[in-house]
Amino acid sequence: MAECTQRKSLLIFLGICFIAIIVKLVSLQIFQGQRYFRLSEANHIRKVYTPGARGKILDRNNNPLADTRPSFALSIIPCEIDLRTITKLNKIVELDSNKINTLIHDQTYLRTPIKVKRDIDIQIASQIEELLSELPGVTIEIEPVRIYPCSETSAHIIGYLGEITSEELKSDSFYKPWHYVGRHGLEAIYEKYLRGQDGIRYTEIDALGRELGPIPEKREILPEPGCDIVLTIDIELQKLAYTLLSQYQRGAVVGLDLKDGGVLCLVSYPSFNPELLTKGIPYKEWVRLTSDKSAPLINRAISAVYSPGSTIKPAISLLALEKNIISENTRFNPCYGEFHFGNRIFRCLGKHGSLILHDAIVYSCNVYFYQLALKLGLDKYSEFLSFWEIDRKTGIDLPGEKRGNIPNRSYLDTKYGKNRWTSGLLVNYGVGQGEILVTPLRLALIYSALAQEGEYYQPHLLKEIRKSDSVIYRYQPQKKLLPVSKYSCEIIKNALCDVVSYGTGWGASIPDISVAGKTGTAENPPRRDHAWFVGYAPANNPEVLFCAIVENVGKGGAYAAPIVRELIKKYFQQRDSVAHE
């Protein structure tokens, strides 16, 4: 009997094994069945995102400033790739193993190809393409990459792209880990228009990852390219300005269409290669860019401030006329080359003698304006500066704009201590030196208003936005008006005209075109002075205005005026050639 029981234990043991099997079956098929069903569905369906191309950025004549070209990208499918394949792949192209590891462990995109190496060489791409059957979980995809045909020339306005960060991914669900976003300039400002919408394609795959074809129940979503952005920029002027500036170490140029505020060119020198930054710049190169004393990443036209030097004189004079503080015939003490105030001596460029306002502007006589500043007093003077809004941002559609500085009473009290400063500072301010600071763009706007009797337009780069060749948005120029009288403006404009005809700005004169403008020389001790010139043309009916600054070269008339001359020349050449056609 005991033996019989022992023999039966074999059967009982078998029974226990079967119960264990049934329990596991119940767990897999009944309790977890739904989950495993989903897994099996996911197993044979691959979701592929097809990239929507980023919109172009075009100049006013439809020349591309930012475009895309097709490229090969190496993608891996996290759940299909194995470590051996990665090793094999690494022999062909160098891969970022950290990135791949995080991808494989991130469960979000298990069955979606994710780009790990972009813009690979066609030779390498075809080499991998041939080996695909031995590389499970690897695909080669074609995707558009950003190119910047004008490269350094317009890098500061166009900006560049960068791979999305994990923070940005969290804050905006539009983006996927393989996306690029605008990192600076217009790429960043108009990101929402420029970016393309990815399409989605579902394909059935077998265990080796071979695509068997589309799945009828799952409709494909087509990618949608981003909008094209058309700018007011004229690429020819932009290029010319860049070339002209590149004779020097550092500088900036702003060109404005006076009839609508459109920016014709906006250049900062030195510059950088935006494609390099978009691709992912090598660390060493980045250190070089950021530690360069010339700060190539700074957009000097809107993000650097300088003393305006003598270019401030016409602006102050206009208001002094308006407020009847002086008349056009007012003379101060004659100029003998220097001006004594307290125990200090302030110099002038020449010995001008006794001048009326017109001549003081034309010859840029410092002694005249020292005395005008003293006559105005600090409060009046700083009030005039704020009339020109030099301490405000212009609101141009570019990131990183800086505001200028007005040294008013409270500013000086904070800087030097209450009553610890003297009117000697004011003398200096009279000729635009010292703590008066302005961006080249703001100075260009001040002259826009001077040239058009107080009327000027909000500066902007955007002309229109197009979606598949039809305009979906056209920028409406915004007119602004400063309360100045035509009479006073005429006096100043006459003087500005003569500055170029026979005064300090003769370097900007062009036969057959009447150019008006003003030179400026901003002291920058102990280094050499910054050279300014702001000019517009035609003098009687202004259409175009350019403002140029060249850092640490010397006199404005000698260095900045020729730049403006060349640009104005080019502008009219182009305009006339269009008119003739």
Binding site: L10, I22, K24, L25, Q29, Y36, D206
Partner: protein, 391 residues
């Protein structure tokens, strides 16, 4: 009851074989299906021949069969086809001597142990143990880990049947346990202390010390053997212990198998509609992993019915063993019961992820000539035993 058992064992085997054919058709297509059908015919033919052969014949020739098989197992190492030298190419089917070895060992041990009082002494245990070691070693060399392990449960089952206590069986297999635990030092120490305490005083002090020494040697050998294992064998063990470590690598099979089974849910995806199977995610879908294919397409219902059929078959074999006319027949029947039980439990346990993947066929379901024909042969023996017990 007994009258019904004759047809029921055959009928159950054939039903299971049909389930297998249907699943093979779905998993492998026409070619596999037709070949399996051919082997089914051969198998059933053989079954009816074996039914005619008296048990006496097998008893008389058990030693011959044993040594011929031994020879075949040696020969296959030299003449075998395939990357693992497991089979002879007989053009109709690949003949696997390791399948025949299952039956040979049963007959051999049954012949040695029948008609006498078997004791827990070397005189009764040494030869069967040596026979098993020889067979296992030769099959391991092929290399075929799964089939190599099959001889141990046969011996264990027959020992239990013969009245050896569980402790004695355990004692005999203790070097093996020591070997398995030897892969982890801590586990081995735990095992060894427990073993020493349990076995103390139950055997003579000299045997106790000898057994402990053997255990220590076995435990020490495992790290050495581990370093000599083939990479894929190591991978299987590691893969079983932590399947999600490298989902595309060694445990891919197990994960895909579980997905296939689980995704079948209660009613299955339907005949020919398993996506796991169809798109080749499932490995060896018509051989070792056929139960996954079956569960994917026929769901929990299909899996449970299949399990029920197996249990009924095994239960009937067990009943026949109990009722058999003599000790040899009883031992043969219980040996066959053990072989089939082991294969069913280990194969299904493996595809479900309960046991490591060792690569063992599911009787009557897995595609493969040798396995099917030997299975039918064993059923034939069981039926003959039953017939003789009726007289």
């Amino acid at each position: 009851m007994n009258k019904l058992s004759i047809p029921s064992v055959i009928i159950l085997a054939i039903i299971l074989n049909i389930v297998g054919l249907v699943t093979i058709y779905s998993a492998g297509g026409n070619v596999y299906f037709l070949r399996e059908l051919l082997w089914t015919t051969i198998g059933i033919g053989l079954l009816f021949i074996v039914i005619k052969i008296p048990i006496r014949f097998w008893e008389n020739f058990s030693s011959h069969i044993f040594f011929i098989t031994l020879l075949l197992l040696i020969l296959v190492l030299f003449l075998g086809k395939g990357s693992a030298r497991r089979w002879f190419d007989l053009s109709i089917f690949n003949f696997q001597p390791s399948e025949l070895a299952k039956l040979a060992i049963i007959l051999y041990i049954a012949q040695r142990w029948a008609y006498k009082k078997v004791e827990f002494l070397p005189k009764d245990l040494l030869l069967p143990l040596l026979a098993i070691l020889a067979y296992s070693a030769l099959v391991f060399l092929e290399p075929d880990l799964g089939s190599g392990l099959i001889f141990l449960p046969i011996l264990a089952g027959m020992m239990v049947w013969q009245g050896f206590s569980i402790f004695q069986v355990f004692l005999l297999f203790s070097p093996l346990f020591s070997f398995v635990f030897g892969f982890s030092t801590y586990l081995w120490i735990l095992y060894f202390v427990a073993f020493a305490v349990i076995s103390y005083r139950r055997i003579t002090i000299v045997s106790w010390i000898v057994v402990l020494m053997i255990n220590i040697l076995a435990g020490l050998s495992s790290p050495i053997i581990w370093s000599n294992l083939k990479d894929y064998q190591k991978a299987r063990i590691i893969g079983f212990l932590s399947p999600w470590l490298d989902p595309k690598g060694m445990s891919w099979n197990l994960i895909q198998s579980q997905i296939a089974i689980g995704s079948g849910r209660i009613f299955g995806k339907g005949f020919l509609s398993g996506t796991q199977k169809k798109l080749a995610f499932l490995p060896n879908r018509q051989t070792d992993f056929i139960f996954s294919t079956l569960s994917e397409e026929f769901g929990f219902i299909g899996a449970i019915i299949t399990l029920g059929l197996y249990f009924a078959l095994l239960y009937n074999i067990f009943r026949i063993a109990q009722k058999a006319q003599n000790e040899f027949a009883r031992l043969v029947a219980i040996g066959i019961f053990m072989v089939l039980s082991y294969q069913v439990v280990v194969n299904i346990g493996m595809v479900l992820g309960l046991l490591p993947i060792t690569g063992i066929a599911l009787p009557f379901l897995s595609y493969g000539g040798s396995s099917l024909i030997i299975s039918y042969l064993m059923i034939g023996l069981v039926v003959r035993i039953h017939k003789e017990s009726q007289v």
